[in-house]
């Protein structure tokens, strides 16, 4: 059943494949031109990862335009399966964009004969961009389930900004209260743990977001 739902969203992707190819080409060009200055390679990669990784959200618009959820729920599908399929599709899409984005930047870095530290750094940047995209997806989806695509996206834009703002205030207060903390934080150590930190954050984001979306969708009258 979930396979069918994922297939449905893939058909949506297929239908605007020209748009996807255009985004892909533009992003490759951005990475390519940015990478003439090796420090800039990350900018292009981040742009690619976010723009490509968020594509899955557009499938909600297609569902909403055809009022598909009503019909899907009349089929042998449960609300839980519909939400699960959306999350699986979003995660697969985000992972794919991570892999493609990393591969492109890796190839360009090799072409430019960049050293290993730059490549390792690039992996970390890709992981951070992947996590950032996950944050956007995970705030978008519950908002869309709650308010629909139009209103939901406005709320979904506000929520991450508020979250980052709150985090900045917390850090600011921490630095004011404990000025020595700055010297205790070792950036090199943190960088080593970026993959595991990103993994934990991503798991937490998707799990929390999924349960919020499911709770909303289970109660929603369609």
């Amino acid at each position: 059943m979930i396979k069918g739902l994922i297939l449905k969203d893939l058909y949506v992707f297929k239908s605007y494949k020209n748009n996807i190819y255009s985004v892909l080409i533009i992003d490759i060009l951005v990475i390519f031109f940015a990478s003439f200055k090796i420090e800039m390679i990350t900018t292009g990669t981040i742009i690619f990862l976010i723009s490509f990784g968020l594509n899955s959200i557009s499938t909600f618009s297609y569902d909403e335009n055809a009022d598909s959820n009503k019909y899907l729920l009349s089929l042998p599908l449960t609300r839980k399966k519909i939400v699960q399929a959306k999350y699986i599709f979003a995660i697969i899409n985000n992972l794919l964009s991570f892999m493609i984005g990393f591969m492109i930047s890796f190839i360009i870095a090799l072409y430019l004969k960049s050293d290993l530290s730059n490549i390792v750094n690039n992996i970390n940047i890709c992981l951070l961009a992947f996590t950032g995209t996950s944050l956007l997806i995970c705030t978008d989806m519950p908002c869309i389930y709650k308010w629909g695509v139009e209103k939901g996206r406005i709320q979904a834009t506000i929520i991450p900004v508020v979250m980052v703002f709150i985090l900045a205030i917390i850090l600011f207060v921490l630095f004011i209260l404990f000025p020595n903390i700055y010297y205790l934080i070792k950036i090199d150590t943190i960088l080593k743990f970026i993959p595991i930190i990103c993994l934990i954050i991503n798991i937490l984001l998707y799990v929390i977001s999924y349960f919020i979306s499911l709770k909303i969708f289970l109660k929603k009258e369609i």
């Binding site: 059943m1 069918g4 449905k8 055809a66 009349s74």
Partner: protein
């Protein structure tokens, strides 16, 4: 189990609309027509049946099971056509076939493609390229090609040309021929129900105003169109509803033989479902 669908005392309150005390039975082998004007509560009832909305009171049983506790296997026995909801218009009929194969164990691919051929539906065009009628044909196929036992159809013949309407009505009539299957059908094209329905349920402002078998309706109900002066001669206990319409007065009789005994000189005609609906909603 005699009924494939049984709705008992269903109630649903909204701020500006209330569905009150809805009772409908869809027995095996029967086609039940659910008739009402726009906003009368037909779609709300369908949504409640399909568990798309919660209801405040009452019960809905499908195959003798509470509709909120149906398993996926139970739902495979139901075919649904909704007036305003379907797959995304960017899919084509081949995509839809692949999806339905994932959703239904019993999906009959051969039957689906046979019908597509019969209805001359092109395979590579997307839904958005089809006319409303063509799209409706595909929706009908999606409702029947997994060989369900119960069909719930919301305005299935909407935007269909008369020839295809008859073809579709024929499919529905054959569907219940095995005496196991049944259909609940809403439509505002009441002439369709005249042809196929066994039971008729009229709804107005969220309440059922008449629930009657087609046979009883044909036998007991009649219509008189006469001048107000002549109608005034009739004792109100001998008719069901009265309505002034243009320069005539319409009278809906619900016991033709009793009426004929008392007033043998009036001409009674067979009312159309449209006229019955008009009198039920606007009559006094």
């Amino acid at each position: 189990m005699k009924d494939n669908l049984e709705i008992t005392n269903l109630e649903k309150k909204y701020a500006d609309f209330t569905l009150k005390n809805i009772n409908i039975k869809v027995s095996k082998g029967k086609i039940v027509g659910f008739i009402g004007q726009n906003g009368s509560g037909k779609t709300t009832t369908i949504k409640a049946i399909l568990n798309l909305i919660n209801y405040d009171q009452g019960s809905i049983k499908i195959f003798s099971k509470n509709n909120q506790k149906l398993t996926s296997l139970d739902k495979e026995q139901i075919g649904v056509l909704l007036d305003d909801s379907f797959f995304s218009p960017i899919l084509n009929v081949k995509d839809i076939n692949k999806l339905m194969k994932c959703f239904y164990h019993n999906w009959n691919e051969e039957l689906y493609f046979d019908y597509l051929k019969k209805f001359k539906i092109p395979l590579n065009k997307t839904l958005k390229e089809f006319s409303g009628g063509m799209k409706r044909k595909i929706q009908v196929l999606c409702a029947i090609c997994h060989e369900p036992k119960l069909l719930i159809l919301d305005e299935p013949t909407n935007s269909l040309d008369p020839i295809f309407r008859y073809e579709i009505l024929d499919i529905f009539t054959n569907f219940v021929r095995n005496k196991e299957n049944s259909i609940l059908i809403t439509t505002h094209i009441t002439s369709d129900l005249d042809l196929i329905a066994d039971q008729l349920v009229f709804i107005d402002e969220g309440q059922i105003v008449l629930d009657i078998s087609k046979d009883t309706l044909d036998k007991d109900y009649g219509l008189i169109k006469d001048t107000q002066k002549n109608i005034d001669l009739i004792d109100p206990s001998y008719y069901f509803k009265k309505l002034k319409y243009k320069n005539k007065t319409l009278l809906l009789i619900n016991n033709v033989s009793k009426f004929n005994n008392k007033y043998p000189n009036f001409t009674i005609i067979k009312p159309s479902l449209e006229e019955i609906m008009l009198l039920l909603v606007k009559g006094e």
